[in-house]
Amino acid sequence: MTTTLPTHRPRPPAQPATLRARRLPAYAAPAIAVAALLLSAGLVYGAGIGGPVLVVVVGALLYLVGLFVAANAVEGRRSARDRTWSALIHSAFVLAVLPLASVVWTLVSKGSERLDANFFGTSMNNIGARDANGGAYHAIIGTLEQVGIAALITVPLGVLCAIYIVEYGRGRFAFTIRFFVDVMTGIPSIVTGLFVLAFWVLIVSPWFNDGRPGFSGFAAALALSVLMLPTVVRSTEEMLRLVPAPLREGAYALGVPKWKTILRVVLPTALPGIVTGIMLAIARAAGETAPVLLVAGGGAAINFNPFENNQSSLALFVYQQAGEASKYSPARAWTAALTLVALVLVLTVAAKLLARRNRLGR
């Protein structure tokens, strides 16, 4: 062969003579941060263009630039990039948490004003604009009953639907169901409220109600379950798909029938994830106002019976109190909002603990 080999060879990257490299001292990053904040405060207040928020924003930018320059000078380019990126990611995290912290703080500080026994023990029945008392007892009952009934309807239906899609569904029919579940995810809550109003309240409820249509907490529960269903189906579906196929095969190979494999092996394995999805759906339903307003009507009095007469809910209570012409109502609205968030939090934590207790070990 006469062809000559190419003489050009790629040069290997230069090997460092030592593994040790110059590092910025530990105090450098905090020092740069303080310097950046001081400089930014001087700039902002000196020019008289803004307040503390602008100081922090400009300070953060100056800190990023300062950190990059300092690290570039001492540690080299790669390390400077690394430090800048990790600082950027940390600030993104802070930015994401800030609104949450702000919401919690506002809720607690404004909601604590009416956080008393009276609020949790009385309803708004016979409470006028000049009365300082009045509470959300009826609304708490409404939320618990409506969300409870909605969960009772949705959880079995949604989980069974997901099992059908993942374990049994084949071909066009399963695909169609999945598609419409996806479509359902996008239905606005006011539309489900209208649907239940037209279908249940106006057409079905007169049969039980001497021919007159009637609002009820159950109608609200129906609307909420329409809202919850797609969330439950989709999250359960994803969780069931995550269960490894060898687990199913292991059970089949022991001669276990398919339904028992699903019930005793697949579902328990996916349970923590399924519970999380259900709690997300419940949290969403508990915060819905529009459907409750449309089909349960709201009301000031305590009504334990979800199948007859108006019922309120916490979200609806917040909406009504926030719009009421009374100097006492905003405080009620804040406390009700705090109660709603606390309720969802307690439910979520309880469900997580329960799901974890079923798992072994730990």
Binding site: R170, P244, P246, L247, R248, E249, G250, A251, Y252, A253, L254, G255, V256, P257, K260, T261, R264, V265, P268, T269, L271, N358, R359, L360, G361
Partner: protein, 258 residues
Amino acid sequence: MAKRVEAANVTAYYGGFKAIENINLTVEPKTVTALIGPSGCGKSTFLRSINRMHEVLPGARVEGNLTIDGQDVYDRDVDVTAVRRMIGMVFQRPNPFPTMSIFDNVVAGLRLNGVRRKSILEEAAEKALRSANLWDEVKDRLGKPGAGLSGGQQQRLCIARTIAVEPQVVLMDEPCSALDPISTLAIEDLMFQLKDKFTIIIVTHNMQQAARVSDRTAFFSIEKTGDPGRLIEYDNTQKIFSNPTQKKTEDYITGRFG
């Protein structure tokens, strides 16, 4: 207890793809039979068609005649779960049920098939764990999760789970490929003991293992990628490894091909 497995003209498909063609093979009771051959030649497919695990995959189907002691496994009136109870299977990767304890894993097959009595379950668990050489290692922590065991222990746990339902044939799909030599040795020892009671069919890529544990060896091969796998030679292990009739078999076991 142990039963004879007979395959006549067994052909298996994945959708439109023919994975094995016309396999004819008889496995005698209380023997260990090794299936060897290059990757993709259909050993596992054939193994999985014996206990009807092949059809679990969508689009997969089997043609031909597969009988166990004369009973057609693919007969219309046959209950799949009964077939799988009679023919147990151990998989390539240990797959203990993650939500169950060691004890629950071993008795899963019994319990999920309706056995409730605690004394029966405990007796069966101890017996199966002893047969799987695992009892001494786990007897003090039967309530702990099965997934917390080491890989070799998990595989023996899966073997215990399989033999706890007292099958008559045990299929093993590369049971040692994810294990270290010591665990492998433990499982090979186990096969020698289990041979007294069960018919064992094992797929393996390790030819020394096939030579060590099996009485008879079947060599599968394919012409080229995309062709169905065929049974090239089936004989006593001694004969296959010392004096095979087929040139292909000789090439494979001497390492010249595959």
